[in-house]
Symmetry: C2
Subunit: 437 residues, 2 copies
């Protein structure tokens, strides 16, 4: 992308309304723009990050056998009346009356709708298990929206739903999504700790939150320090095998959000206890027949009898993750994107675009990187070098190629690492080789 | 995709509520399911097609220098009051009151919102021209939703917006989108004819509809028969050059929707006149300062003066296209997808999945095609051959590999072309080579 043709309205001043660092940086980096309280437009830079996160979430859902579909944003009130949640949900549900005076609502979650689809299409246990998901905009009419996309009203969520014949099957589906979430967050460059959680308005008796570590996080957390070194990295996961041992390994150690902390257990942990702050980015639930029973989602079982299906639901806050990643990874100068979600992986800064040698090198590097399928942004604008440096750091491009007139004469450029700030002078070809490795 | 693990709830009976062929076939093929009047869930098969269309639309927008962003579904009432369209839009606008009694609406189009974003971020003519687009769900509260996704209430639209300093620039942007649309529809396998159009509630004095030919189309059209042979195919388009001659070539000949037909011109055309039926799938508008003036979207011009920007908007009905393509391409047995948007390009039918030779060949072909990045569905279910044949035709898979126990013994399979019905017996390797070419 040539920056001269892009739409990147960065801000010099920090907007007064932004209370947390991710909100400030997203506004300053020209990633989002508020249109109403808690409702945002995703400007081109922000959308690139959102789509990269979405893609990783999708790939991991697919890899674990979840099938993608797409439910609409607006739902009929009737199915929520059937499940009993229409009145229970309270004023966070955005209720809408259409021109024919029929009740609609902007879906805050989709248990009812997927149950309705399931019950009218699946008749036999032979078609179980089923794991379905969608990635769709949701709405919760928060009384006090704040923290930018971290607690917005219109937000993008991935929600998956499982349907099984019995409790054992439901646990297998739950374990699949548990491991899928660990892998998803690792690919996003995040350290996520699963914590036993309240089930709240979703219901059921088995639930985990996935909380990522961030000094600026919304809630206090406490966990066994072993979590700091636990990871799936390199471990192949056998999806047809038993995932229980893996789940046990990640749930066998103490980890609790503020409201669930246990002073006795923590005292016993002693030195092994770490406290810090975190942000919830995923939540999974197994809730048995809470929706299938009132909504009559039954299949014919192996014995010819009618069986109420066991269900679970599994959510990841896709738009919230954009803010959460920034909370976990930034410095004074701006955002530091993990490479997997960076809007651009490489940035080229031409310090003197009207210098012939600079222009030639910039253009050549740009074309070669684009040809290799690398997301690259080329700052070819007629701007001061200081502006270019600070904007490239603000928007958090991991690898930055700096082309100055002196180096350009001898075919040298600087390669800067956004995270460490390290700069290295390299010949053009060597710099390219480094980036294409 | 293994069909045994997919979610493809096809219907044997034709649903009574469906009046047109695309609606009937989308329901029967398990592509969509209605949740409220004019509001649909996209089941996995339908979503695959929707995403493929979306990708082609996106690639062509990008290729023509349009920059993607994403505006929210809900908009504040205020900006529509500013432009004067809030009251004018009528009951098709879904108006919403939130918990704080603030007025929102589910966006039916985005001229106001993009103008608001532009005026608060772009200050100088040096940042023009700008071409921005998004692909987002919209809502129009049709009084009588019908024809499935062809006239639904919640629908997916690509809408682009151009900002230029003067009329000449606005025409250049208009021409870019005009040619972009021709290319987009060709890639979708459609014959689209641009027709001079009314501007309606969007406004302005320059507008074209893109109408595709379909015997079952919603409206009567008449056009010069030369259109049947006009195409961009193979012509490289120089985006930096003058596109006016190309636009002139496609607008110089008579083409009119029912309400715009001119009996005198048609009489003069004689034999060159073709009449038929069509479906509108795109609409472009150049409307000058209709929104920038009331909303004060101005930039500093080259002379230091304040200039009201010239705007245009450009829409493609992405979800509507799914139905439109089916209207244009189907037969008695079901859908016939153009390869570019087929949910699966290759289908493997194992007529006897429990036969060892059939199973081995099916598995091998499946793995090889998947490894080559081809979208393939493998019907590995324990179903009657007749069911497999008719479902594969119903869902419209272009290339079908049929594995029977007799052929399997000698390493032979049948390759069937969905469009022509032609079947050819081939050795496994020869069939694969044909599909991988």
């Amino acid at each position: 992308m040539l920056l001269s043709r892009y739409f990147l309205p960065t801000l010099k001043e920090t907007p007064a309304e932004a209370q947390i660092v991710s909100h400030r940086l997203m506004l300053r980096a020209g990633m989002i723009r508020q249109s109403s309280a808690g409702i945002y437009s995703w400007l081109p830079l922000g959308l690139r990050v959102l789509r990269k996160i979405e893609r990783i979430v999708r790939e991991e859902q697919d890899a674990f056998g979840c099938v993608e579909m797409l439910m609409p944003t607006l739902q009929p009130a009737e199915i929520w009346q059937e499940s009993g949640r229409y009145d229970a949900y309270g004023p966070e549900m955005l209720r809408i009356i259409d021109r024919h005076e029929r009740g609609l609502l902007y879906g805050p979650t989709n248990e009812e709708m997927i149950t309705e689809i399931f019950r009218s299409t699946v008749r036999s246990y032979r078609h179980l298990p089923k794991l379905l998901y969608h990635i769709q905009w949701k709405f919760r009419d928060e009384i006090r929206p704040r923290f930018g996309v971290m607690r917005g009203r219109e937000f993008l969520m991935k929600d998956a739903y499982s349907f099984d014949l019995d409790r054992a099957g439901a646990i297998r589906s739950y374990n699949k999504m548990f491991v899928c979430y660990l892998r998803t967050f690792e690919r996003l460059g995040l350290k996520a700790i699963p914590m036993r959680a309240d089930t709240g308005p979703i219901g059921g008796d088995l639930s985990h939150e996935f909380v990522i570590l961030a000094d600026t996080g919304e809630s206090e957390i406490a966990y066994h320090r072993d979590f700091l070194h636990m990871s799936l990295a390199g471990q192949p996961v056998d999806l047809e095998g038993d995932l229980q041992p893996l789940v046990d390994a990640f749930t066998g150690k103490y980890a609790a959000t503020d409201e669930q902390r246990d002073p006795a257990v923590e005292a016993a942990l002693g030195e092994a206890l770490v406290t810090g702050r975190g942000i919830e980015v995923g939540h999974i639930f197994s809730f048995g027949t809470k929706y299938s029973r009132p909504m009559n989602a039954v299949v014919v079982g192996p014995g010819g009898d009618s069986v109420c299906v066991e269900m679970g639901s599994y959510g990841i806050g896709v738009s919230r993750l954009v803010g959460a990643i920034i909370e976990a990874s930034h410095d004074e100068a701006g955002i530091i994107w993990p490479e997997s979600v960076a809007p651009f992986v490489v940035g080229i800064l031409s310090l003197k675009p009207d210098d012939a040698a600079c222009a030639a090198i910039g253009q050549r590097m740009y074309e070669q990187l684009v040809a290799q399928g690398i997301d690259v942004v080329y700052d070819d604008r007629d701007e001061r070098a200081g502006v270019k440096f600070s904007e490239m750091d603000l928007i958090g491009v991991p690898h930055q190629l700096i082309i100055g007139p002196r180096g350009a004469k001898s075919g040298q450029v600087e390669l800067k690492d956004r995270r460490t700030g390290e700069r290295q002078e390299l010949a053009v070809e060597a710099a390219l080789a480094r980036l294409l490795k």
